[in-house]
């Protein structure tokens, strides 16, 4: 993407790394990417455990009309991402939840309808705005250019808040995720936790959208957690692994995008995909991890 701005890849790794941080926009991209990777991996870990990837996907789709509406109205895209994602999270939380994990076919149909409408309205806002077509691809598929200091501050603040909330509710949230009936009988407020989690998920999706784009949030939200859970069933270890995967995927994606003509969304998604495949193959090849010997 930036191959023409005078930063060729060399065989000297140290030089390549220093070069990465020569421009302020690149430093900001790494700062933002780091905050996003951590929060997406942490929230994604619970999302995968709770079988709520479908809700996460819906929130990602909604990020698109959110950002395009905000730009059309002359606001910053960040406002649109957060506003729409968190509002939608509250709507999903208010929907009558089917018992147990996984959604009923009726709920799936409802959410599918909402997704189509969200994409269509996003496109409408883009058309209304007119000269925004260049921004369209970056809203949908991600961009790391022109992240301002103020944006970095917002991303870091939201990430810290989201991770702090998760840390405070981690045990009851885990309990009500794997066994809602017993958790409720024990006095864990499952309903409140579920709403709280969806709001945090909305915030995480809004964060990730700003790096990977609305359509590719899963690269940072699902893949690190899913890969980590394939490798180990120890909750603490897989949580840490998910964070490490998220960071590696983001950093490598940004570096690749810097030195190549291809967009960051492509790179993060591709590296994420490779991570997942490697985790699967690794777990199959070394069954000790998957079985965890007694």
């Amino acid at each position: 993407m930036l191959a023409d701005n005078g930063a060729p890849l060399t065989w000297n790794l140290a030089r390549d790394v220093t070069q990465l941080f020569e421009f302020h926009f690149m430093v900001n991209a790494f700062r933002a990417g780091t905050a996003v990777a951590v929060v997406a991996a942490a929230v994604g870990w619970f999302m995968v455990l709770r079988r709520q990837t479908f809700a996460g996907h819906t929130l990602g789709i909604v990020a698109f009309p959110g950002a395009s509406a905000a730009i059309w109205l002359g606001l910053s895209a960040t406002v649109g991402f957060f506003g729409f994602c968190i509002a939608t999270a509250l709507v999903i939380a208010a929907l009558p939840r089917t018992t147990g994990s996984g959604s009923s076919s009726e709920e799936a149909a409802l959410i599918g309808t909402v997704q189509a409408f969200a994409l269509a309205s996003g496109f409408l806002f883009v058309s209304l705005y007119g000269g925004f077509l260049n921004g369209l691809t970056s809203v949908l598929f991600g961009s790391f250019l022109g992240i301002t200091d103020a944006q970095v501050l917002t991303l870091v603040a939201v990430a810290v808040g989201a991770v702090a909330v998760l840390a405070a509710v981690r045990r009851p949230l885990l309990f009500s995720s794997v066994d809602p009936d017993v958790a409720s009988a024990r006095g864990v407020p499952s309903r409140v936790l579920s709403t709280m989690f969806l709001v945090v998920l909305g915030a995480a999706v809004a964060e990730a959208s700003q790096i990977t784009g609305a359509l590719l949030v899963f690269a940072l939200l699902v893949v690190p957690a899913a890969s980590a859970q394939v490798i180990t069933a120890r909750p603490g270890v897989s949580f840490l692994l998910a964070t490490v995967f998220g960071l590696v995927i983001t950093w490598a994606g940004l570096a690749c995008a810097y030195y190549s003509p291809y967009p960051v969304g492509f790179w993060t998604t591709t590296i994420a995909f490779a991570t997942y495949i490697a985790a699967r193959v690794g777990a199959a090849a070394v069954p000790r991890f998957a079985r965890a010997s007694a």
Binding site: L49, R51, S101, A164, A167, A168, V169, R171, P172, L174, F175, V178, D179, D181, V182, A183, A185, R186, G187, V188, Q229, V230, T232, A233, R234, P235, S238, R291, A292, S293, A294
Partner: protein, 281 residues
Amino acid sequence: MTTVSIRGARVDLGGRTVWQDVNLDVGAGELVAILGPNGVGKSTLLKAILGLVPLAAGDIGVLGRPAGVANHEIGYLPQRRSFDPSLRIRGVDIVGLGLDGDRFGISLPTRARRRDRRARIDELIDLVDAEGYAYRPIGQCSGGEQQRLLIAQALARRPPLLLLDEPLDSLDLPNQASVATLVAQICREQQVAVMIVAHDVNPILTHLDRVVYLGAGGAVAGSPDEVITTETLSRLYQSPVEVLRASDGRLVVVGRPEAASYHPDLHHHGHSHGSGAHGAR
């Protein structure tokens, strides 16, 4: 002190009386079964004891307090199918949730706290004989293994009362017998009051102190020999019910209440009626 005391309890759901006139006392170290045909409200009785279902009449006391107040001192195992096979959480983690799964807070446990936690979890796993599979993902454990781990979870904080909803459901016969023996052993050795919902009384029959039979007309509580008889059940269900005792001691209930303990594979009904009772213990 009685652990659970139920006096003239009645529950209505959707304008219909589920059961009424339930009277029962359960003390420490006693094992009581809740029996009756499907849909008669056996699980509802456990939920009433937890205060999750309001009473229309009578009252329920748990550990000397009203129902619902002392829930943190109750180990409860709801009726379930099983964990999702793809759930990537180990059995030990499920047991650990019984210790601190309801605790909020950011702080990490101290070293000493972690050691105590570890020791208690090991003790629980040992208690239910789960050493062989406790470190496997729970979804990959068999039904009986999951049930044992869940019993360990329910016992984590040494509750004086254990409520088990159909814990033997969906287990094969040898596993039913071994989980029943485990529950009885915990009940006696740890002096826990245990109430167990069952649709087949036979796997637990020899361990029981008392049974409650629920019916639409009311409920009967007493020793198995008093309650599971042709006369008592016929009166409860107001239709002819016959209780047969097999030569190996198993009970067969034939008649309207969906043969609550009927085994189709049981060919040799001994012709002695349940009232003749060679002790259920």
